[in-house]
């Protein structure tokens, strides 16, 4: 077990541990902006713990698909976090072409939740499933385009290499490309993780729900799986944005064989802390956006996705002419 692999696995375990804290940070920011004290930062941990110890209630209409959906969502989110690297590290499951695997895993998780929602035979959940399917159908090509632009800019097809190529030198020579990519990925984060302005994670009104309404009938451990999977997915997207955002100077942390490099444990700690800091800053920013904006009308949401696509397309053009 090389030092590189050990630190990658450590980073993944850190992600599993800290993902619910990100949701807590977002909720605390929203509460403070609203003049309230807000729930504890660790509330999602308490919720998941409580839900795991409850007995679920299933509807007569549902079947094995209803129970399989949340498990699929969580399994794919876990695997997705194993593909996402921290800045300067490489993910434990990294290979050339893993960006397609990432998109495919998200698609599978989404498919599981959509089918679980349709399994309940309720109009509400069908509505959520239809909306979620449509918005992610628009988001998918944009996601691929953004990742492909990043692959082209870094010359490699592995997300770990893509992120480690985003250094201060790359930023200074091609800042417009990375800025456009960040904007595009941020809008995708809002869409895929059901944040304002695409969806409101707090309300339970028909007009304003997509993800929340899909998981209305889940209870007990299934709901725990769904909530934790949502936290992991948000963490994965935030890691992606933090990877593109952090202009750390190119300091190899490991030797080509995988042993500890010239910067030792201090370098590893600094890199990991910087990534975590930027992830939580993204969380704070999302919280601010949720507090200062209202959710868009439903037929404006494709315009948000078109905007994300335009940013990615402009990034591709910036690369073409570079």
């Amino acid at each position: 077990m090389t030092a590189q692999l050990a630190s990658s696995i450590f980073c993944v375990l850190l992600s599993f541990l800290l993902a619910p804290l990100l949701i807590g940070v977002i909720n605390r920011v929203k509460a403070r902006m609203g003049g309230r004290q807000g729930r504890p930062l660790l509330q999602l941990y308490f919720d998941i713990n409580k839900l795991l110890r409850k007995a679920p209630v299933y509807s007569h209409t549902t079947s094995w698909v209803f129970q399989a959906g949340p498990m699929l969502a969580l399994a794919t989110a876990v695997c997705a976090v194993c593909i996402m690297p921290y800045s300067g590290f490489s993910a434990p499951y990294a290979f050339e072409g893993d960006f397609v695997m990432l998109a495919g895993l998200f698609a599978l998780g989404r498919l599981g939740l959509i089918l679980a929602a349709l399994d309940t035979g309720s109009a509400f959940e069908g509505m959520g499933a239809a909306r979620e399917a449509l918005f992610s159908a628009f988001a998918e090509p944009v996601f691929f385009l953004g990742l492909a632009v990043l692959a082209h800019a870094s010359g490699s097809m592995s997300i770990s290499n893509m992120i480690s190529s985003v250094s201060a030198e790359a930023w200074s020579s091609n800042w417009s490309l990375y800025l456009l990519l960040i904007l595009s990925f941020f809008l995708l984060l809002l869409t895929e993780n059901c944040r304002i302005p695409v969806d409101d994670p707090n309300t339970h009104l028909e007009l304003t729900m997509i993800h929340e309404v899909m998981v209305l009938d889940h209870s007990g451990p299934e709901l725990a799986f769904v909530e934790y999977a949502a936290a992991l997915k948000l963490w994965a997207f935030s890691l992606l944005i933090s990877g593109v955002l952090l202009p750390l100077p190119y300091n190899p942390l490991f030797t080509p064989e995988g042993a500890l490099g010239p910067y030792g444990f201090l370098g590893i700690a600094v890199n990991a802390l910087c990534s975590l800091l930027v992830v939580f800053l993204i969380g704070i920013f999302v919280g601010l956006m949720e507090s200062l904006m209202a959710r868009l009308r439903m037929d404006r949401v494709p315009q948000v996705l078109t905007l994300a696509g335009s940013f990615a397309g402009l990034a591709a053009l910036a690369l073409w002419r570079a």
């Binding site: 695997c79 397609v100 698609a107 509505m127 992610s136 339970h204 209305l216 007990g220």
Partner: protein, 674 residues
């Protein structure tokens, strides 16, 4: 070659024997037996050929009016032969029970013998098309293959709609042969011989671009390229399960084989061929999935989705040509290998879906999505198999659809990297975007179809007639489902099996070598291997979660109740989302492309104070079919109507016509200078 002749003889023998046996059930078993035997032999034969990478040739001393009975099985043909044999064999397994089941509800004697004769002829025609090495022989086999489904589709010829479906199929098949006739006639006249070897050895063609376009149009009708796809949504729903599986899983690939063969015969491809293939493939894929999303009947969705997948393969083929022309080695391997792998995968999951859909339509009597729902409680096995097919079609890991689409995505990125700074770079970006859009919408489409048909509560009482499939159907569906998973995990090995075919393609295409390298293949196989490991890891995590869930369930057993639905206490099945409801928002957003017809009556002032009953209608017609009908067929039929004046029904007039014709012939024979 002896094996090939044996296969052909088996199929021909099965056809004739079952025709002689007439309406007896023994005809069904004879045909099924001969097709299964031929398929088993053929599958092993083609697999051996492909693995060895050799080309076999032969000739039968059967006199043809033009050309000769030349056979060649080379690696590209072997690649296409494998799904033909697999799907035909599996379809033949369910042929007896399907045909006997058809008779059970109708009461009139269906001509089993006739159906089996044409089924064997269809398989025979497909094998002949793939192994023919002579242009005239190819055309004859193409005709045989195209005509046979007409008779298979008209099993219920008392039903007007089924007659119409068979009729549309016949018209499309024949109109498609016309460009092929022109193409092969031109090529044979120019080269002086009609054998494929002679055509390949011919140097530079006078108008290769025109020949390529003729091939694209002629074979495009069979593939379902837009706007030539209009026969598919009408014909596929009318076909019984086994026929639909063969049509969509095996026959549609032959159009691809035709295009590949013509590209190989025409010498070095020009760059606009790649552009054209990419454009046509992209448009077909996008429009196919948009139309599929808005259909209200299950089999029509599957037909449009076949067109969409063929569009993806054409897009991949065009991109592969473009990569080859730019000498981008890795990208070419990824595209061409991905196209062929996607063809194999599509054969498996599409025929699985059609067999499942046929089972539904057979037991419940309908495939309208708005009448179904909650079917998986009535047919759990078919439901599970269709779930796997839906996930594969949507391109979700760990199934095989994801593997081939992965190759295409990686190909687009590799191609963009290899052509950095040129205009083709933008084309690869556009292709990636198109493929991503198609994949996203196919997830929407198949989540809709599977969710509304199998999940939820029954929307009408026909669902209660649904029943589990018989053991032969279960075997076939189970085998295809297992293949979906196995082909995904064994994707590296499958990809390496395609290697001889790709090398043969690159060797004969006429561009200066070397075009593909061994370590690109190793690289791609490594990529697929990593993804397969990831799929195994995903399954492990899923299994761990499942065991954890079970241990939790033991401690806190579940209760059952009504669907909570945010607190509404009286849910009914009619409150569920319908097919139209699911598709309404996307169809509305894409209304410029889809042109749906939405008929929503508003309230009028005369409805004071209580509004009367009204009806809303949401329809998504195929505007390409309507355009063909208006601009071409209706005009021709009007012209033909005017020509009816010749037919007065008076014998004296007809004798006058004969007299006039004879006089004209006499004048011509005597007065024309020789």
């Amino acid at each position: 070659m002896l094996i090939l002749y044996t296969i052909l003889f088996l199929l021909l023998g099965g056809a004739v024997l079952s025709l002689l046996l007439g309406s007896r059930p023994a005809a069904l078993y004879t045909a099924a037996g001969s097709v299964i035997a031929a398929s088993v032999m053929g599958f092993t034969f083609s697999l051996q050929l492909l693995l060895a990478g050799v080309t076999l040739s032969g000739q039968l001393p059967i006199p043809l009016p033009l050309g000769s009975c030349l056979f060649t099985v080379d690696p590209p043909a072997a690649v296409f032969l494998l799904p033909v044999f697999l799907i035909s064999g599996l379809a033949a397994l369910i042929l007896p029970s399907r045909m006997m089941g058809l008779n059970a509800g109708i009461g009139d004697q269906l001509a089993y013998g006739r159906h089996c004769f044409f089924f064997c002829t269809l398989v025979l025609g497909m094998v002949l098309v793939l192994t023919a090495a002579d242009a005239v022989f190819f055309l004859i086999s193409w005709e045989v293959m195209s005509l046979a489904p007409f008779f298979l589709l008209s099993a219920h010829d008392k039903d007007g709609k089924e007659r119409y479906a068979a009729w549309i199929y016949l018209v499309a098949a024949h109109l498609g042969v016309l460009p092929l006739l022109m193409l092969f006639a031109d090529m044979s006249v120019e080269a002086g011989a009609s054998g494929f070897y002679a055509l390949a050895a011919h140097g530079a063609w006078k108008k290769p671009g025109l020949l390529f376009v003729l091939a694209l149009v002629g074979f495009g009708v069979k593939i379902g390229l837009f706007p030539l796809h209009v026969w598919m949504p009408e014909s596929y729903p009318a076909a019984p399960g086994h026929v639909a599986a063969v049509l969509s899983g095996a026959m549609v690939n032959l159009g691809l084989y035709g295009i590949i063969r013509v590209i190989l015969l025409l010498g070095p491809p020009e760059i606009w061929w790649a552009y054209l293939l990419m454009a046509v493939g992209g448009v077909t894929g996008v429009l196919g999935i948009f139309f599929a999303m808005a259909q209200s009947r299950l089999k029509r969705v599957l037909a449009y989705s076949s067109a969409e997948n063929m569009g993806i393969i054409c897009l991949a083929l065009g991109s592969g040509l473009l990569a080859m022309l730019h000498r981008a080695d890795l990208a070419s391997v990824l595209f061409l290998g991905g196209a062929l792998l996607h063809m194999w995968n599509h054969a498996v999951f599409k025929s699985l879906y059609f067999i499942g859909a046929s089972h539904i339509s057979h037991s419940t009597g309908t495939t309208t999505i708005n009448h179904l729902g909650g079917l998986h409680k009535r047919m759990p096995f078919a439901g599970a198999c269709t779930a796997v097919a839906s996930a594969s079609l949507a391109g979700a890991p760990p199934f095989n659809g994801f593997m081939s689409e992965l190759l295409l995505y990686a190909g687009f990125v590799a191609g963009a990297l290899a052509t950095a700074g040129t205009d083709s770079n933008l084309l690869f970006w556009a292709g990636l975007f198109t493929l991503g859009g198609i994949a996203g919408f196919s997830l929407l489409c198949f989540a809709r179809v599977y969710g509304l048909v199998f999940l939820g509560a029954p929307r009408s009482s026909v669902v209660l007639q649904g029943q589990s499939a018989g053991s032969d159907w279960r075997f076939v569906m189970g085998l295809l489902t297992a293949l979906c998973l196995v082909m995904s995990l064994a994707a590296p090995r499958l990809f390496l099996t395609l290697q001889p075919a790709l090398f043969s393609f690159s060797a004969n295409i006429g561009l200066p070598l070397p075009l593909l390298s061994e370590d690109s293949f190793a690289h791609v196989a490594g990529l697929l291997g990593n993804v397969a490991i990831g799929c195994v890891f995903l399954s492990t995590v899923l299994l761990a979660l499942f065991l954890y869930r079970r241990s939790l369930a033991k401690r806190h057993p579940a209760e059952t109740g009504l669907t909570w639905d945010c607190g509404y206490r009286f849910p009914t099945a009619r409150m569920q989302y319908t097919g139209g409801g699911f598709a309404e928002f996307p169809a509305g957003l894409l209304r410029a492309i889809l042109r749906p017809r939405i008929d929503q009556p508003g309230l009028s002032a005369s409805d004071n104070p209580f509004p009367r009953a009204a009806a809303a209608r949401f329809e998504s017609p195929d505007w390409a079919a309507e355009l063909w009908r208006e601009k071409l067929f209706n005009k021709i039929s009007r012209l033909a109507g005017k020509a009816k004046i010749i037919q007065q029904g008076v014998v004296n007039l007809y004798i006058l016509y004969i007299l006039v014709a004879l006089l004209a012939a006499l004048v011509w024979a005597l007065g024309w200078p020789s």
